[in-house]
Symmetry: C2
DNA sequence: TTAAAGTGGATAAAAACAGTCCTGTATTTT
DNA sequence: AAAATACAGGACTGTTTTTATCCACTTTAA
């Protein structure tokens, strides 16, 4: 089981809820009430999404968050990347030598790249709108 | 960053090493020496792979492990599934209601299914042989 | 019968995560 | 101007997962 963090899951739920009102301004507290997710958590998710440009925020009384684009133009890959950083399956990827303990002897440098590319491709093709549609 | 467990990473390294000798019988200690991964860890990985039918084991003196099929016929999806269980992105998937705290109110039941299908498809297409080829 | 090699399960240390809370800043309303 | 509402950013903590290792047991060849 490849795991997404639970926050990513929440992010999709919250974004889907926002999409339902066409992405219009909504306060964190409202979204928390609508989704049933605790407010501090919703707030955390929204802050992260905002920092990554998926949604924009309005401060002050009557403030809130709104979608920056239509649900059909938000691929899942973007949501995941916003919540968890770049999409890739290991730390042993070309460019980042940091955490590979085997280093020189590791015969796998860059090997995951084709896999990662495949996954990114797959995630690019599914949008928030698709997920909203695919109801059971 | 979608994370694979480190053991899965090791599994690929070890399997790739086995593929290099055409999947012939090799003891865990030998594979450990060749890959530079600590023996107890290699051993654990091999046990898991064996239990899942990707490799077969021979007990006793002069025993070891060997590949059950050619590298070109081992998709990454199989390796990942063997090490981490079924490939899917959340616990909130059709069929398993266990860990979804929102349950009834969660509007996302089954929504990840298209995403998971996309990922599975992508992982099915990349084989161990592909990864061995794609050297930097 | 002994030594090499795999099997299965248990465990302990380390790391990551989720969830919460607090302080600060912006904006609107009164 | 002050007060109230709402976002921003970060710090903290308990829990869960992961990782790596070890041990007692089984199998088999010499």
């Amino acid at each position: 089981m490849i795991k997404l963090s639970r926050l990513t899951d929440y992010a999709v739920v919250v974004l889907a809820e926002m999409a339902r009102t066409n992405g219009e301004l909504a306060a964190a507290s409202v979204l928390a009430a609508k989704t049933g997710i605790p407010e501090p958590t919703v707030s955390k998710v929204l802050k992260t999404l905002s920092r990554n440009g998926l949604i924009s925020s309005v401060r002050g009384v009557a403030g809130g968050y709104k979608l920056e684009r239509a649900a059909g133009e938000i691929p899942v890959s973007l949501i995941i990347a916003a919540m968890e950083g770049p999409i890739s399956l290991t730390s042993c990827v070309s460019g980042s030598h940091e955490s590979c303990a085997l280093e020189g002897s590791c015969s796998m440098h860059g090997r995951w790249n084709p896999v990662n590319a495949a996954i990114r491709g797959a995630l690019d093709k599914v949008t928030l709108a698709d997920m909203n549609r695919g109801r059971l």
